[in-house]
Homo-oligomer: 219 residues x 2
Amino acid sequence: MGNETVGIDVRTDSGPGILSRLAGVIARHQGDITSVEIVERGDQESRVYFEIDLPAGGDALIAELRDTPGVRVVERVPTLQRIYGKRIIIVGGGAQVGQVAIGAISEADRHNIRGEHISVDTIPLVGEGPLAEAVRAVTRLPRARALVLAGSLMGGDIEEAVREVRARGLLVISLNMAGSVPDSADLVVTDPIQAGVMAVMAVADTAKFSLERLKRRVF
Amino acid sequence: MGNETVGIDVRTDSGPGILSRLAGVIARHQGDITSVEIVERGDQESRVYFEIDLPAGGDALIAELRDTPGVRVVERVPTLQRIYGKRIIIVGGGAQVGQVAIGAISEADRHNIRGEHISVDTIPLVGEGPLAEAVRAVTRLPRARALVLAGSLMGGDIEEAVREVRARGLLVISLNMAGSVPDSADLVVTDPIQAGVMAVMAVADTAKFSLERLKRRVF
């Protein structure tokens, strides 16, 4: 099909209904919106960013967007998918999240040099409720591919949340820790640096590593 | 005004025009869409996630969305703003990005325990072009509040990109390094751990730190 993904940054008058109007124009061009972000919202002017799969190039769409009432400036920009790429999400206690991040960032560096695009995103959190919420919310984060749970004790509703996001196709790696979360993860790793490295290897197209080929799931 | 921000997860039939239709319903309820994400795109079913500022509660809007043709399931969920919160973005060389991340994650842990919501997101990258692109793209990342440039040598188009994003209101911290980027940043810090800590302090509502009150800009 030769579909192309374009990034388009639109500045418009502020006001209700703007997104609906822009999305309508995109739909008429058979554009499949893969990502949208309201980048700025001022009293007068707002900025909206789209990533759109298009059957043809984006020129005709950009021209029609420019002629849409309320639209001020339309600019083609590189997509976030191309720049920030796949995301590894690390959540848990600050001490462990930091060490997993060190491993993941070093490994992502080695793959990004060879043309991959992998980001390593983290949040230190305390408590079963906030952690379970963060795990569930990963499936709403754009471009998230793998989740690493970095802590010393996790169970209860966090385990339930892990099973839910795995059912939606997310890869989950857990540090070897107390609680029931390790039992529910795809992979359990004791060394936090190695956990970060393995998370990146598992999602990198430049790596030979494949979870399916592993003979054991606990390291 | 008592405006409320609601998170809404919608499963719909796949196809062009869905987003336009949903956004139209939201506009009729005076909803101000602050974030949208196409979470899943299947041949049959797609999932779209909205964060919406609403003058009243979300019940009437949710009821009308449920009655919209093509809509399968509408669910109220916690917002990403509430869970993942403000984002610190760290870009540069893997060695330094890792160290800045350690500082930022430890400091974010201390603030998140007291009710803040700060994420620390990173990407290791090589080369003037990719780094300048990543800097410019930070203004298209949702919830990004501060950028840390972590490397040993950065200048040229990266400096230009730093000036552009600062003009759009982003806080930029640079490690003390070779090249012209430190001259263009809001703050220059020599120790990478401290750079990460200061980035978090600068955006945390739970911190007393304020960049405006600093008597010097190089540490």
